[in-house]
Symmetry: C3
Subunit: 363 residues, 3 copies
C-alpha cells in the first residue's frame, strides 16, 4: 500500500509543501510515527511530540513551519477530520477474505452470486438469495432464503441476514450484526395492564393473569445504499410491512432497531441506541449513545439527541434534545441547573419559614 | 400457503361477511395489498388507503361498510391485535431449514436428537446433549455438552447454548442469543470501594489498590416452556444454583439476564433491558425498553416498568414504575412536571427575595 | 473432580473442623446439597435450610456449631466471597473442547499455534495469527490475520477477533464477543449540526443537508493479561492508535468499548455499559450496569459509577458518581430527595402566594 505523498495530497485536496516523492505506507500519531508513516499533527499540541517519532512528513495546521519541525514535507488541509476520512480510506487494507468461494461454504445452487466474490469459510447462503458484484463475506456469515444484497457489500464474520431481507449497495455489516430477526410483538387475550397503564399514565387497573400470544413477523427489512451497521446490533423485520433503513444511515454497535421502524436517509445512531416498534425517523436524525426512543413516535428530520436521551413523545424537525424524558437541550440545561440548586433552596426556604405555622393537612 | 377466507375467519373467531371462498396467501397494509392479500384496515384511517391497493378482502372495524370500500369480503374482529396474532401465525412460512441433519453438522455420537429434526449447516451439538422432537436448529448454532432442549424448539443461526443448560418446549431463540455464558462475578481480597460506597451511599473510604478474583459459575440456566429470547441477548449461568426464566417469558433483543436471576412466568422485557445478579422477579413483570434493575432486588408480580426505568430498590407487586431512580409512575409525572416549572419558580423566588439580605455562611 | 475436604481447606485458607477426609465433587446451596456437595451456608439464614438437603460438610460463619447442624465437617473462612472464588475455581469443569485441532477447523498454514491446543469445530484462524500455549478455542470462533493471543486463553463459541488485534495471557472471551470491529467514526463535509449543538449546548444553527463520510479504523485493539469480556460485547479498533484495555479488566455482557478508548488496569464494567470514542479511564474504575460515558473524556483512577450513570464531563480520581448527568453520589441523593419533595413544596408555595399579584411578563 505504498503511496507517494503527492498522490495523497491530490486525493485529500491538500496543499503539499516539500518533497512530494516521499512514499507513505500508513498513518500514525506523531510520537509513534516511523519514516514511512504520515504523522497526524493537525494541532500544535500534537506536533510537539514529533521529535519522539521519526516522521518525515505530516499533516499540519495552516501556518505551521514544517521545516522547523524537522520534516521533509507537509500537507495542509481545510477540515482535518474530513482529510482523515480520505486518508484512512486510502490506507485501510480491509479484511483479508480470499477471492472466490471458500470450499467449505454452503451456497444453495439456486443462489445468485455476482462477479468477483470473496466468500469465506463456513458461509451459508440460502435458496434464491442474490448477492451483488464484488461481495466480501467473511467466515461464518449466513444469508437466508430470498435475501438480496447489493454490490460491493462487506459482511463481516458471523453476520446474520434473514429471509427476504433486502440490502442496498456498498453496505457494511460488522461482526454478528443480525438483520431480520423476528420483532418482539405480543398481545394478551384481554386488555393488558400495560395498555391500561399507558393510557392512564400509571394505573394498570385490575390485574388479569394472562399469557402472551405471539404476533409473527411477516414483513422484512429493507436497507438502503451506503449503510453501515455495527457489531452485535439487531434490526428486526416488520410485522406486515418492512422495517426500513434509509440510504447513508450509520448505526453503531449494540443498537436495536425494532419492527416497523422507518429511518430516513443519513441518520446516525451511536452505540446502545434502541428505537422501539413502528417509530418513524426523518432524515439526518442523530442519536447519541444509549438514546432510547419509545414506540409509535414520529421524529422529524435533523433532530439531534444527546447521549442517554430517552424519548417518550414526538419531536418536531430540527430540535436538539436531551434528558429523560427528552426535552429541548437548552431547557434540559436550565432544569438541571435548577435541580442542582434545589437542595440549598429548600434548606433556605425551610429556615425562612420556621416561624410560620405548618400549613395543615396536606403537609 | 393459500388459505380460504372462511377458514381464516374460523381460526380468528372473526365474523365473515361476503365471499368466504376467496383465497389469501398473505397479509398486507391497505395501500400495498394485492388481490391475494388480506388487507389490514382495522381503523377508518387505514381503510382510506384501500383504493391505492388491489385488496379484495380486509379485516375491518365493527360497523364498516365493506361494499362501499370496494371489497368482496370482510372480517370483523373483537380485538384486532389478537386477530393479528392468529392471522400472522397462520401465514408465517418460518425459516427454511432442511429436514434431517445437514451433513456438515457435527453432532456428538452420545447426543440424543428427537424425532423429525431440521438441523442446518455447521451446527455443533456436544456430548450427551438432548434435543427434543421437531427441533429446528439453524446454521452455526451450538448446543454444548449435557444441555437439554425440549420439543418444538426453534434455534436461529448462531445461537449459543452452554453446557448443562436446560430449555423447555416450544422455545424460540433468535440469532446469536447466548444462553449460559459465565456470570460477571468478581471479588477483591479486601473489602472493595464498591462495597463501601454501597453501604455508605457514596463514600468509598480509603482506596486500596487491588485486583479482581474470579468467582466461577458452577450453576446453569433453566428456561421454561414457550419462552422467546431475542437476537444478541445473553442469559448468564448461576454461580451455584441456576438462573431461571419461567414459562411464557418473552425477552427482546440485546437484553442481559445476569447470574442467579429468577424470572417468574409470563414476564416480558423489551430491548436493551438488563437485570443484574440474583434479582428475583415475580410473574407477568413487564420491562419497557432499556429498563435496568440492580442486583439482589425483589420485584413483585405484575409490576410494569416504563421505558428507561432504572430500578435501585425492591418493588411491591402491581406497581407501575418509571424514572431513574424508579418511583411510581404517577409520582414520576408529578416530579417531572414540577422540575419543568422549577427554573421559573427559582427565578420568581429570586426576584421576590432580592430585598432580603443573604442568609449567610451556608449559601 | 472429587477432592478431599482438607485439600479444599488448604486452598481456601479456611479453618477445618471435623472429618477432613470427606470427598467433595461440587458446591450447592444448603437445601439442594447432596452428600458429595459442599454446602454454602455462610450465614445463619442459609444454614436453616441445611436439614432440607443431605450435606455432610459446609462452609459456615465463624462461631457456628457444625455438630448441632448435623454436619460431619465444616470450613470457616474470613471473607466468604473470596472463599467462593477459590472454591468455584477448583470445582469448575470448564467447557469441553477436545484436545488438538478439530479436523473441520480452517487454520491458515502460516498461523502459529502454541503447545497443547484445544481448538473446536469450524474455528477459523487467519494468516500469520499467533495463538499462545494451552489455548482453548470453542466452535465457530474466528481469529483474523496477524492477530495475537497469549497463553492460556479461553475463547468461547462464536468469538470474533479482528485483524492485528493483540490479546494477553489468560484472557477469557465469552460467546460472540467481538474484538476489533471498525469504530463508528464519520464526518460531514461541512461543520455538522452535532458539532454546532455541542459547542453551543443546544443550538445546531442553520441545517445543512449532508451525508456522512467514513473515517476508516487503521488502528487495532490491545488487550492486557487476565482480562475477561462478556457475551455479545464489542471492543472497536482505534482510528490511528490502538484501543487499549489494561491488565485485569473485567467487562460484562453487551458492553461497548469504542475506538481509541484507553482503560487502565483492573477496571470493571457491568452489563450494557458503553464507553464512547477516545475516552481515557484510569485504573480500577468501576462502572455499574448501563453506565454510559461520553466521548473524549478523562476518568480518574478508582472512580465508581452507580448503575445507570451517564457521564458527560471529566471525573477526578476517587469519586463515587451517579445520575444523568453524573454528579457525586451524595449530591445525587440530595438532589433526588429534594426533587421528591418538590411537587408538595410548589403546591405549598402556590397556596402561600395566592394573595400576591403575579410578578409580570416573564411568567
Amino acid at each position: 500500500m505504498s503511496q507517494r505523498l503527492d498522490d495523497i495530497a491530490t486525493a485529500l485536496s491538500a496543499r503539499l509543501e516539500g518533497d512530494g516523492s516521499l512514499t507513505i505506507t500508513s498513518a500514525a500519531e506523531p510520537a509513534d510515527a516511523g519514516p514511512e508513516d504520515l504523522a497526524l499533527a493537525m494541532q500544535p499540541a500534537y506536533a510537539e511530540r514529533l521529535p519522539e517519532g521519526r516522521a518525515r512528513a505530516a499533516i499540519l495546521w495552516e501556518g505551521a513551519d514544517w521545516r522547523a519541525l524537522g520534516l521533509q514535507a507537509a500537507l495542509f488541509v481545510q477540515r482535518p477530520r474530513l482529510a482523515m476520512a480520505h486518508l484512512t480510506q486510502r490506507l485501510d487494507p480491509g479484511p483479508e477474505i480470499a477471492s472466490g468461494i471458500h470450499p467449505t461454504a454452503v451456497v444453495d445452487p439456486t443462489a445468485t452470486i455476482g462477479a468477483n466474490p470473496a466468500i469465506g469459510p463456513f458461509v451459508v447462503i440460502g435458496r434464491d438469495a442474490r448477492i451483488g458484484d464484488n461481495a466480501r463475506i467473511a467466515s461464518h456469515a449466513s444469508v437466508a432464503e430470498e435475501a438480496r444484497i447489493g454490490d460491493d457489500a462487506l459482511l463481516y464474520n458471523g453476520v446474520r441476514v434473514g429471509a427476504r431481507v433486502v440490502i442496498g449497495d456498498r453496505v457494511i455489516l460488522q461482526p454478528s450484526a443480525v438483520i431480520g430477526a423476528d420483532g418482539l410483538s405480543f398481545v394478551t387475550p384481554e386488555t393488558s395492564g400495560v395498555e391500561k397503564a399507558r393510557s392512564s399514565l400509571g394505573d394498570q387497573g385490575e390485574i388479569v393473569r394472562q399469557s402472551w400470544t405471539r404476533i409473527h413477523s411477516l414483513g422484512t427489512v429493507i436497507i438502503g445504499n451506503d449503510v453501515e451497521i455495527g457489531a452485535n446490533s439487531a434490526v428486526d423485520r416488520g410485522t406486515i410491512r418492512a422495517t426500513r433503513i434509509g440510504n447513508g444511515c450509520k448505526i453503531d454497535n449494540l443498537c436495536h432497531i425494532a419492527h416497523n421502524v422507518v429511518m430516513g436517509d443519513d441518520c446516525l445512531a451511536a452505540a446502545l441506541t434502541g428505537i422501539a416498534g413502528s417509530t418513524v425517523l426523518g432524515d439526518r436524525v442523530v442519536c447519541g449513545g444509549a438514546t432510547g426512543i419509545a414506540d409509535n413516535l414520529s421524529i422529524g428530520s435533523d433532530v439531534i439527541f444527546g447521549g442517554g436521551t430517552k424519548v417518550l413523545s414526538n419531536v418536531p424537525a430540527g430540535r436538539v434534545m436531551m434528558g429523560y424524558p427528552a426535552v429541548r437541550m437548552d431547557q434540559h440545561v436550565d432544569m438541571y441547573k435548577a435541580l442542582r440548586r434545589l437542595p440549598r433552596v429548600l434548606r433556605d426556604l425551610a429556615s425562612r419559614q420556621k416561624p410560620v405555622p405548618k400549613s395543615g393537612a396536606d403537609d
